[in-house]
């Protein structure tokens, strides 16, 4: 199985990046996880020609070719970082590769409380009509105190959190398989590809 892991920040020091690296290494038997960065993507500004810049196209192609996507997001000001929102806006405005794509949301934070609000926002965002990702339900993986979570060899120190992630990840793998069946002949896909907020407003659609 081929998965894409998106680092939800452009920070050079990121515990979310480390969490994805841990997963890539730890679950290498079950899946091939490719870690993608979003820091090179330019600022979204609704260009009239609706074409994806190079960096967006590259990310989009990887997502399209994958079986599922893992978003690892920090929480900035009770929501997801602007830079992650930026990448998502590009994808929704141009190539729309997330439609019907299985998605797992995780988040790491320095404090004890974690990223629950950011994760909730990300869910709502990915459910927007031009994104329509299939987000794995009932799972909210939060890694608090993330700075001290990994030892020098990249292993997770908190045993309970490691176990929880194992369970969640297995769940996600079966979710991916399940959705393959669901979406094989979904008409939804074409509708979502053509979705436009202008049409909604003009009553032409939905």
């Amino acid at each position: 199985m081929k998965l894409v892991g998106i680092v939800g920040t452009n920070s050079s020091e990121s515990t979310n990046r480390r969490l994805l690296q841990y997963m890539k290494q730890h679950y290498s038997e079950q899946a091939e996880i490719e870690i993608c960065e979003i820091d090179e993507i330019p600022v979204f500004n609704e260009p009239e020609d609706k074409t994806a810049p190079q960096a967006v196209q590259v990310l989009s192609d990887k997502i399209a070719a994958s079986d599922g996507v893992i978003f690892a997001t920090p929480e900035y000001d009770h929501s997801i970082p602007a830079v992650l929102k930026n990448a998502i806006e590009w994808l929704s405005y141009t190539t729309r590769p997330l439609i019907n794509k299985p998605v797992m949301i995780i988040g790491a934070s320095l404090g004890a409380l974690g990223t629950s609000r950011a994760q909730a926002h990300l869910r709502q965002i990915l459910e927007a009509p031009e994104l329509k990702a299939l987000i794995m339900p009932n799972v909210e993986y939060l890694l608090g105190r993330a700075l001290e979570a990994f030892d020098d060899d990249g292993n997770m120190v908190y045993k309970d959190k490691a176990k929880e992630l194992d369970n969640d990840f297995i769940e996600f793998l079966s979710f991916v398989k399940l959705t393959e069946k669901l979406t094989a002949n979904s008409k939804f896909f074409e509708i979502s590809k053509q979705f436009s907020w202008k049409q909604v407003a003009n009553g032409e659609d939905m």
């Binding site: 600022v43 609704e46 900035y76 000001d77 009770h78 602007a82 830079v83 806006e89 965002i125 407003a201």
Partner: protein, 807 residues
Amino acid sequence: MKFIGIVGTNAKKSYNRMLLQFMQKHFANKAEIEILELKDVPMFNESKDQSDSPIIQEFNQKIAASDGVIIATPEHNHSIPAALKSIIEWLSFNLHPLDGKAVMIVGASYNIQGSSRAQLHLRQILDAPGVNASVMPGSEFLLGKAQDAFDDKGNLKAQRTIDFLDSCFAKFMKFSDIIAQMNIPEDITYEPGTFKVTAVGHNGDLPMEVTLSDDRIEKIDIDTSSETQGIADVAFKRIPQQIIDGQTLNVDVVSGASITSRGVVDGVAKAVKMAGANPDILKKRKKSNGPNKQNVVEYQTDVVVVGAGGAGLTAAARTIQQGKKAIVLEKFPAIGGNTVRAGGPMNAADPEWQNKFEEITGERHTLKEISEIDEKTIDAEYLADFKALKKQINEYLKENEDQKAYLFDSKLLHRIQTYLGGKRTDLKGNKIYGQYDLVKELTDHALESVKWLEDIGVKFDKSQVTMPVGALWRRGHKPLGSQGFAFIEALKKYLESNDGQIITDTAAKELIIEDGQVKGIIARSSDGKKIIVHAKAVVLASGGFGANTKMLKKYNTYWSNIDDNIKTTNSPAITGDGIRLGQSAGAELVGMGFSQMMPVSDPETGELFSGLQVPPQNFVMVNQKGKRFVNEYGSRDELTKAAIDNGSLFYLIADDAIKETAYNTSQAQIDKQVEQGTLYRDDTLEGLAKQVGMDPATFVKTINDYNSYVDVGEDPEFHKSAFDLKVEKAPFYATPRKPAVHHTMGGLKIDTDAHVINQDEKIIPGLYAAGEVAGGIHAGNRLGGNSLSDIFTFGRIAANNALKDME
């Protein structure tokens, strides 16, 4: 008011931009809205800090200087655009200009339900601790179907939409005012000393020593030996630093060392308590904005003014007009004090103008009454003027005996009315009336003040001459635009474009006095900086003490009782600071026992414009027992006295027809207030009585009696002077009312040159006072419209003499 509008997208074409541009235009006479664009804002990156870049600094500084921020957000993918999120992140990282700032959210989108999801997210984001904005609740302005909403001039097409936007914006103006007041740091004073305390750390006790001066936390020493090295170190360094920099206990705990962090905060809180102060005040303060590079800032100027209300700004403007330098210190974030609250015009006799208008019924009668006053009752200083006025009146009456006349006025009439209106006797039998020379100065120069304000840029509405409540005569000069604000706005513009300096968030604390000469002010800014202003003269213009209940109670000799929780129509900044500053230099006080109350104020807020405010002929006032207790047509004083004697809280009763005569409200507001429980409504009189807790039978009898008095046109109980409607048509209303403090007539003793006079009746060199801070003019009762004349006249006089004395 000045607001910043942020276009929440960087797209070339944006309906949200159009919406803000429309608001900018549409509200131009209410507030200035400056629109900021996101186009050049870089993507937020924690590892590449660009907080110092010009674009982010522009956002930072303009927001910090504004009275509030309006964010117009589109909805992108069920949330706010990344570009908007990015600037918010920059403004929550190392800079925090939105902290405590009033924010209004609006949004336009294609979709029918507008940008509702984005607005919700934005609320949550703005509520995050690093942002900590004060977002206006409710009033969600969503512009759906934005592509059809504007005409080709960029104006909103639908009147209903405009009406709703108007009401949201009006609410926001009020909201930003209230938020500004909330941001005033409460003062705190400590018993100075070094306090030994023990807090709880991660590994046990954390002994500390905290050194406090009278108004600052100076030093925090911690015995760090028991805590875990490497983990707690950062907390030991950062937390005390933040506490001292910001003079606050509202600090971010250090992640990974939160227990140690909280221990340090608790320790300091204990010390503060030991020093006799309330640590909660420090916990409510703003977070530190990073190290305070300059803890002491010094200025040099010619005239330093305390208070940016009408009197203060006038003194500063007059100083600058004469080529000298002026600095105004203002305690609040927003300028204007009580002056922006003033709803009426300013009094000045201007016969040339007034004579162009016809007299109205009753005015001739008033003049006759004045001319018939027994001269024996006129105090000696005023007698010559009174005789001269009598002559003027008699000539006028004779000249117009058989014809409709023009509106009469003269400086003498203004003077005598100010004198008669202010004449009162207090509970101890002390008689008071306006000091002749000051009243003469005021009435002789009020018209010059109108002319001077016109030069500064205030535009007056010459088409009508009005009389504010309690003014006794039609001589009101009404500015165009919203009243009090129009004066302040013009003065502010004048100062800004002529190098005048207004320093807000800075409260004057002490006078600098050298060899008996006042030489400047020491002030403290809300972020803890000490501000020293050296000057050749100090003008005290800090207003009265209507918002200082303790002080009112201490001096009161006029009211039988002032409740501890009495409300006020005043700005909360009006706490008598200038009077205390004057006293520190030996100033004499006059007339301090006399204050004016507004009898029909909201019991919870002191506001005048809640409930049903109807013309006095339709007032029906009942006490908490359901009985009438006063001639409702009486003066403010009489109503207030009677209310206080009846336990302060009383009710204005109205029926459906009287409701229609209310001039302050709308059906929507009425319904809302009924729902909120601040106004009572019932289909029967009995039901209404039950709702407010009166005996129904007593109340019904009261109303039936009242109605019968209206029928015969006479009130044998209280002799109400004028009637109009009966209380008979359901539904019935009860508006709870309570007297609130409105004006303080007493204050610093001044002479006609606005010098502050000391207890030996000598001038205090270098010290001047103008406006409500000074006493002597209005004595026992200020006429409506006379205060504005006072502040603009004596504000100018103070500056003129400060400069003259310098030569």
